[in-house]
Each structure stands twice: as structure tokens, then as C-alpha cells.
Symmetry: C2
Subunit: 568 residues, 2 copies
């Protein structure tokens, strides 16, 4: 039995951040300390490091996960640690966790066991305040918008066509649907609206995709807050909020440097949602990390159909960087669940039947792994399967996963980094290094799935049929009209970010494996014009979580010595 | 013509914070850097510095201000700089400005001219994120509260008797009155509520008054969020939110160290509202600053009837510290306005008639200064009048103020620290040093205005008659019932914080000078049980500002080089 994550983290031996940055070739003059164990890296680093060799760029993705998650962050951290152990200087890049779920049931997102980012309590709470800055910038624009209505609505905004809501980094279901502006005549214009969680803010997606302060300023200006009665888009620039948003977000744009339990450098930066947004850490962090040594290992949210697809087609488009290898994390429990014979519920023990040795079931559920490997190869990138081993796994089941991986042309390794740290992911590190060193890979090197010039429907249909395995796409009337309007507005060149469940390759969370014979239903389509993508909605996308009956908020506290307890 | 505040600030020559802290006797091991020009001071400093001599403790207050403010922060900063110039090591302690008004019309609160805290853009924006932490802790309790209702309302909270709202640090009138919990059955329980600005949060008042992490934890536990149908108070402890709030606020409790343009150490910490809360910077900052050298100069919000009265009777009760002198800032324009012959409106030029030389008018309006000096002496503290000079002032008018001050037993000095920095406040510094060095002062040394054991009505009546100059107090029926209930609930020992306008000694903002022949109307009474005060409401207290027709949010931006522009 290994100790609790928080205990391992609190016992960690941290290096001075100057040394951690030094390993990446980053001098102290480029650091700004934020507390004792986090530093921001000045954006001047991008230019200053430009002459250093370019690291191999590795994205970590996964099979379609169960509601428990399959240890993607832990594997990302473990791989970074392992690469350093085999003599290849690595930097890890991950998203900042949202504070809402930290006090809900999910717990934090610092990795786990002996593959963690530390200090985990700093990571899972405010970090350097970037999420708070997103909240402040987003809600300032909301206030400017409601003030614009109150002061006479010079742009002629249709109050029923306002798309800009408010955000808070808390799980608060009561804020999903609200009416504002009640009271007297001086208390604003009454209208229905609501709050999303901060991770769902377009401000978050923008700061994750911008390459510079000035580009962020321009993107904020392009944010569409709503439409006039004639259907003309009204932007943040039109109502006078984009400059102030930029000033609020100025320091947030600098990536945060932390370290793993083994002192591997970690860039923690931005945390856009993985369904209605692109679910990847920031471009500026990667522009710095790509000059930080031999490898930059970055994580993409959810399964390879979700985070990795957006990594390839949205994030790499924005950054100009191209990946050299992609890891697909697979677990025995996830593949067994993909056989369709078990039901896994968060907060409840795994079903007994799932724990029995059953390699045949892994083969059945392996259809999901096959498809996700294919999704990586579709983009010309070399796939490596990381089998994230759990204590109850059987060797025959690991062998089954390895067999599938090899069949599909992927390298494969069993990993025990949760219990052993970097040492447990050395085999994976070797496989990743081999894959990344292979010139152009088996599929000819990285390519986008679709060109900018393709129509929005073509882009949606390409992802749906090639990546998700759908037979085609069905558009509701509203969705079809919205797509036509967006193309008329000049947004047709943007990539698409399909908002569907992350619990299935299909849009139906109950369909396991690699579903076939289904069509993707597009209910409506929305635009994040500042972030630079169009997002079709396929299913019920929750953008503000709630708290459960016994949320972590009831348990987290300080002890006699002032230490944090019960944070996970 | 001196340059704009932001230009002066951007041209400042800052010292390393290690040196700034060193001047206070604080070693680098007690600092945590937050960015390049701010550090948090660890709370261990309180014990570690306990053997150093106790500094003289000076509170800076003012006459009843005009809507423009009379330069209290600027004088506080100028005085700190001047004390250092005359060889007395001084530390300045001020509140953190709220970000809401920074993007409204008020502008920031870093002082001005050559008496500023720098970097002013850092101070006026996120600083180290303490306000964001308050927002997060407050709203987590709100989410826990609405979840408590949703999960079955085990405490039997009356949804119409919930007193805990939500907060955001933005001027957003549309959030004053809202309905939450709309939508479907899974989207919470519909009810009416609203948002206040973060400065108005009880979390803000609590962290400003707590002496330690554990005391803050206990105060959070005592927060009353509402009442059952039987009238029993329900606390944050009852619904399980106080521990998580403490964890969110853990780092915020450490004071922030900055410096003035002349490198005088400045502690910037907490920013509770000056009407519904006590309007003073934090107790922990003062517990550290009191060991930082010869003088600790702290600012109290609004006029001496407001901030200074709460400083004496609420803050000093919580901290155990006692003041040695009190500065009353007076301006010619404020005293002329107190003659009742002019009307000053924020955002408009001063009336022509007010600018003409008229010492007689100063004498008439001087009634306000007389009363405010009396209010200081009521507490046994030596008063010093700081005449904050403006370019259009006439020497005869300064002489009139000086005459009033001397008549009332106060020392007095003319100050030009806005245009000259510390040099312009040397005379004030000498007067303050003399007053503070006087053993026990003319009035026998510091005393509270009322004992803890006095009844709540007696406390209210004492402040109203002795400090405000009212003939008595009238209670609405609801207010009388609430006072009786609070005493029955065991809150009778708490001090009171009377929420009235800051623009008059009376509760009517249109009454200038030192109004007599009026009675204080108490409309309702509320309780901040965690912060530890009862606050009677006398007038219309706005706890969420709005934006004007051309707010600063429209103008603040970055320039080509990425510098902030139009922040004031």
C-alpha cells in the first residue's frame, strides 16, 4: 500500500526553481517567483531561447476513458521523469486544474502516487492566480456588456441573442440559469443568463491559444458577445472591453514553472474545457518548453478522439509546432469496460466481474484502443501505447493490450510509474524516444486532418466519419442555419471543436468500444471567434458542475499545525 | 504640472524587496516573492520579531471627505516617506484597492503624485490574489449553502432568511438582485439573492481582523449564513464550509510587502468596505509592522467618524494594539464644501466660487474638522492635522485650518507630499513624532469608547451622540426586534459598526459641517458574527457599485510595448 497522494507530495524534496529552470536552459533573469515553489517564466524566453535546438514534441492522449479517468496526467508526469532517468532532458506541460472540482468529488489533477507535480496543494488551489484572472477578465466584459445595455445599447444588441455569460471557478449548479438586473430602474436591465465554470470561459481558450500578448489582445477584440436584431455580431471591441481584459490577463499569459517529485520541470498553464473548448495546455508554454531540452511531453484532455484531435487540428494550427510522437494511455479496466459488459460509476467500487482475469474481454474492448491508435496515425504521427498498470491487473491482460497495439503498428510498454515513479516508465520512455526519433514515422509525418479552406460542414463530417467512426452527420434546422450564418460572417476558415461526450467515441455516452452504424446529431452550433473555433454541440454539454451530497468542500481543512488535510 | 501618476510610478527606482524588508528587521527567510516587486511575509514573523521594540502606532484619518477624496492614502504614504527622511524608520500599512472601481471611475488607490505605492499597476490589479481568494472562499460557501438546500436542507434553513450572498470584484449593477436555481430539477432550488462587491464580503472583514490562521478558521466557522424557520442561526460550520474556506484563504492571510517611490516599506493587506464593514487594513500586517522600526503608519477609511472610530473600537479590540497618535487629513476644498455653499460632484470640475480665496468660509466649514479632532480626542489619542495642500489653495486658507486645529488642541502642518514626496511632509512628520512621543497625550492615553459589556443599543447610542453629534437614535420596529434577537443569540458583547454615509457626520449625505439637532434612524440591523461586529443600517448602503457611461474599462489597454496605459 503506498501512502496518500498528499502525504507523498508533502514529503517531497523540491529543488530551487532556478535549478529546475536551469535544466531547461532558462536563466534566473527570465523567472518571476510566485511563492516558494512556483515561478512564472517571462515571455521574453520565447525569443531568447529561439536558437536552442528544438525538442521532440510528444502528446499524451488515451483510450476513451471511464468516469474514473485512466491516469493520463500521472503517465505524462511519469514519462517526463523516465525520460530524464534515461538521460534525455524532458519538460512536462499540463493544464492547470480547476478549483471547482477540487472541492467537488473529482479531486485535483496533479498526477498521483510517485508521479506527481508538487506542491500539489498549490497546484490544485490558486497556483499563481491565472484562473482568477480569467474569471475577472471574463466578468469585467460581462459587466461592460450589461452596462452597455443600461447606458442605451448603442450597438442595438438583441437581449435575447446575447451569448456571453459569466464565470466562476466553483461547482455551483444554482448559477447555471439565473435572472439578473432585478430591483429598481438603477439596477440594470432584467434578462436571463447564467454562469459557467471558469474553465469553460472563452477567455481561457484564448489565453491557451495566443502566442503573444498582442495576439491575445486581438483575440479578445474578436470575441462575439451577441448579435443585433439584424443578426450582426457585436464584439468585445465594439463594446469597449478588450483592452481592460488584456491588462487583467497580462501576467496570466506567462507560463508557470513547477516540478515533479523527481524534479523534472513542469509547465502548468491554462485549463480550457475538453468538450466545448480544445482541452489543451497553453501554446506559450509549449513555445518555451520546445526549447527546454530533448523532449517536451504535453497532455491533451480526454481520449484521442477529443483532446488529441484538437491538439493536432486546433492547438498545432495556432502554435505552428508539429508533434513527433503520441502516447495513448490504456488501462485494463477501461478496455474491459469497453467490452460493454460492465458499468463503472464514479465514487463506487469497481464491479467484481471486471476484476477477474479475462484477456478475451480486453480484446473485445480493445476495439476502442484500435480506433484511437488509428486516430493518431490519421495525423501522420507515431503512436506509442502506455499500459498504465493497476495492482489487480493480470499479465495476460497486459499481453492482450500489447498484442492489439502491435497489430495496429504502435509501440507499447507496461508502466508502473504510479508506484515506482520515473523508474516505472523507463520502458515507455525508450519506446517514445524511438518513435520520436524515427524520421517522419510510418505514416509520413504530421498532417492536419482537414485544410482551413474546407467548409464547416466538411470539417465536421471529416472528424465525425474519420475520427469518431460515424456514418455521417445530421444537422438540426437551427444548426444548419447557424453554420450558414457563421460562414456568411466570415468564420468559415476556422477549425471546428466538436462538443460531444468524452465517454464514448460516439455522441452517446452509453456506447462502448468503437461504435459503428451511427450518425452524429448536431443540435446547435456556437462560435468562439476570439479563440478561433466553431463548436457544434452534440448532446447535453454541462458547463457548470454541481456539488454532490458529500463534496470534498465538507472535508478539506487545516490541522493543528496549519497543514492542509483531505485534499486529493 | 507634474506627470501622471502612472508615468511617475513607471519611472520609479525600486529596491530589492529583501532590502526593503531588511529595513524593517525582517530577514529574507520570512519572505515569499510574488512577482518581482511584491513579497508575502510569513506569519512566523509575528513571533520571530516579538522581541524587537514596539514602533509608535499612528492612524491616518480625515475630515468628512468630498466625493473626490481628500488624499488620505497619499498623505499616509507621504508621512511614511517623511518619517524616514527625518531619521525615523517607518512602515506604512494600507488596504488593498478593489479592482471593481479601478475599472469604474474612481481609479486606483495607490496614493498619488510623488507619494505612491509602486508598482501601482500591480497594486491596483491582482496584487498577490488575496481578493480573488476572498471571492473564491466566499462563493464556495455560497455553493455549499445552495447545495445544502438541494441535498435536503438538513438544518431546516428558511430560504427567505438566508443572509449569505455571493461576491465578485467588479462593478456590476446587474448582479445586485438576481434569481438563482432556475432551469430543471437538477439545477438547484430557485430563490432570490444577489452579488456584492468582494470588498463587502464578511470573508474580507474576517481575514482583516484575524490574528492567526487558527483564529481565522474559528471566525469562518462562526459566520451566520441564515436562520431556520424557528429563528435559530445556521453557521458555516453547520453546513460544512469553514475548513475549505480556510484552506482557500491560507496564503492570503500573509501580508503583502511593497514599497513607496522613496522605498519606504508598505504593507498592503485586506480591503474591507468602510460602511458595512470596518474599513481598515489587516491586523496581521500591523502585528508585523509594529515591530518594523520607529513608526507604523496605518490608514483608516473615510472620515474620523467612520474609519478611525472603527479603528479604535473594532480593529484595536481585535489586535490588542493601541495607537499613539492620529492624523486628520484636511483640505481647503473639503472645508469650503462643509460650509454648505458648494456642491462637488465626482467627474465634474470644482465650482468656480469654491476656488476664490475665502478663509472665512474655511472657518465655517471648519466645524467638521473641529468635530473630527474631538472624535480623536474622545479616544484619548493625540491628534495632528495634516493640511493636504492643493495648487489653487491660498495661504490665508491654510492659516484658517491651522487656527482651528490649534484651538482644538491639535498639532498641525501644511503638506506638499503630492508634488514633493516625503520632503513635502517633513513638518507633518515632526509633528506626528512629537505627538506620539508625548507620554499618554493630553487626554490620558488610548481608551475604547464603550466597554464590551454595554448593550448593543447603548453602543449605538454612544457612537451616534458622542461621535456623530446626533441627539439620539430612532429604531424601526424591525431594527429593534433584530437587536433583541442578536442579544438573545449571545452577540450582545460584540462591537458595533454603524453603516451610514461617509459624506456627512450625520446619516444624511447632504448635511455638511457638523450637523446638530438630528437623530440617527436605524432601519435594520445585520450581524457579521464571524468578523465579530453588529452593523446597524442607517440609509441606503450600496454594496455593489455600477459602471458609468464611460468607465475606465473602456480606456485601459496595453500599448505597442505591452505597457499598461490609462490606468489611474
Amino acid at each position: 500500500m503506498i501512502p496518500q497522494d498528499l502525504q507523498i507530495a508533502q514529503a517531497a524534496s523540491l529543488k530551487p526553481l532556478d535549478d529546475v529552470a536551469g535544466a531547461m536552459g532558462i536563466g534566473s533573469h527570465l523567472l518571476e517567483a510566485y511563492g516558494e515553489h512556483v515561478a512564472k517564466i517571462k515571455l521574453a524566453a520565447i525569443d531568447e531561447l529561439a536558437d536552442r535546438p528544438r525538442a521532440k514534441y510528444v502528446v499524451v492522449s488515451a483510450v476513451t476513458p471511464t468516469p474514473l479517468g485512466e491516469g493520463k496526467t500521472t503517465t505524462t508526469v511519469g514519462l517526463g521523469q523516465a525520460l530524464c532517468q534515461i538521460g534525455r532532458q524532458a519538460t512536462v506541460a499540463i493544464r492547470q486544474p480547476s478549483m471547482g472540482p477540487t472541492f467537488g468529488i473529482k479531486g485535483g489533477a496533479a498526477g498521483g502516487g510517485y508521479s506527481q507535480v508538487v506542491p500539489m496543494d498549490v497546484l490544485n488551489l490558486h497556483l499563481t492566480g491565472d484562473f482568477h484572472a480569467v474569471t475577472a477578465a471574463h466578468n469585467l466584459l460581462s459587466a461592460v456588456l450589461d452596462n452597455h445595455l443600461f447606458q442605451g445599447n448603442a450597438t442595438g444588441l438583441d437581449t435575447h441573442a446575447i451569448t456571453w455569460r459569466r464565470v466562476l471557478d466553483v461547482n455551483d449548479r444554482a448559477l447555471r440559469n439565473i435572472i439578473v438586473g432585478l430591483g429598481s430602474r438603477t439596477d440594470g436591465i432584467p434578462r436571463q443568463t447564467g454562469f459557467d465554470i471558469t474553465a469553460a470561459s472563452e477567455v481561457m481558450a484564448i489565453f491557451a491559444l495566443a502566442r503573444s500578448l498582442h495576439e491575445m489582445r486581438e483575440r479578445f477584440g474578436r470575441v462575439v458577445v451577441g448579435y443585433t436584431r439584424q443578426g450582426t455580431p457585436v464584439t468585445a471591441e465594439d463594446i469597449g472591453g478588450a483592452g481592460a481584459m488584456t491588462v487583467i490577463m497580462r501576467d496570466a499569459l506567462k507560463p508557470n514553472l513547477m516540478q515533479t517529485l523527481e524534479n523534472t520541470p513542469v509547465l502548468v498553464h491554462a485549463g480550457p474545457f475538453g468538450n466545448i473548448a480544445h482541452g489543451n495546455s497553453s501554446v506559450v508554454a509549449d513555445l518555451i518548453g520546445i526549447r527546454g531540452g530533448d523532449f517536451l511531453v504535453t497532455e491533451a484532455g480526454f481520449g484521442a478522439d477529443m483532446g488529441a484531435e484538437r491538439f493536432f487540428n486546433i492547438k498545432c494550427r495556432a502554435s505552428g509546432l508539429t508533434p513527433d510522437a503520441a502516447v495513448v494511455v490504456a488501462t485494463v479496466r477501461a478496455l474491459k469496460a469497453h467490452s460493454g459488459r460492465h458499468r463503472i460509476v464514479a465514487g463506487r467500487p469497481l464491479p467484481e466481474a471486471l476484476l477477474a482475469e479475462n484477456p478475451e474481454e480486453v480484446h473485445v474492448g480493445g476495439a476502442n484502443l484500435r480506433k484511437q491508435i488509428e486516430n493518431i496515425r490519421l495525423h501522420g504521427v507515431s503512436p506509442v501505447v502506455a499500459i498504465n498498470a493497476f495492482p489487480g491487473d493480470h499479465p495476460s491482460e497486459h499481453a492482450a493490450i500489447a498484442e492489439i497495439a502491435r497489430e495496429m503498428g504502435a509501440r507499447v510498454a507496461v508502466c508502473t510509474h504510479f508506484t515506482e515513479g520515473g523508474r516505472g516508465a523507463r520502458e515507455l520512455a525508450e519506446a517514445v524516444a524511438e518513435a520520436a526519433d524515427e524520421p517522419a514515422g510510418p505514416d509520413g509525418g504530421f498532417r492536419f486532418l482537414y485544410p482551413d479552406s474546407a467548409g464547416l460542414r466538411e470539417k465536421i463530417e471529416t472528424i465525425a466519419t474519420k475520427v469518431y467512426g460515424a456514418d455521417g452527420v445530421d444537422y438540426d434546422g437551427a444548426a444548419a442555419r447557424q453554420l450558414a450564418t457563421y460562414e456568411a460572417n466570415g468564420y468559415g476558415h476556422l477549425p471546428v471543436c466538436i462538443a460531444k461526450t468524452h465517454l464514448s467515441l460516439s455522441s452517446d455516452p452509453s456506447l462502448t468500444g468503437a461504435p459503428t452504424g451511427w450518425r452524429l446529431p448536431v443540435r446547435e452550433v456556437r462560435a468562439s471567434v476570439g479563440a478561433g473555433f466553431i463548436y457544434p454541440i452534440c448532446g447535453d454539454m454541462r458547463t457548470m458542475p454541481g456539488l454532490g451530497a458529500t463534496p470534498a468542500a465538507h472535508l478539506v481543512d487545516i490541522d493543528e499545525e496549519g497543514n492542509v488535510v483531505n485534499l486529493s
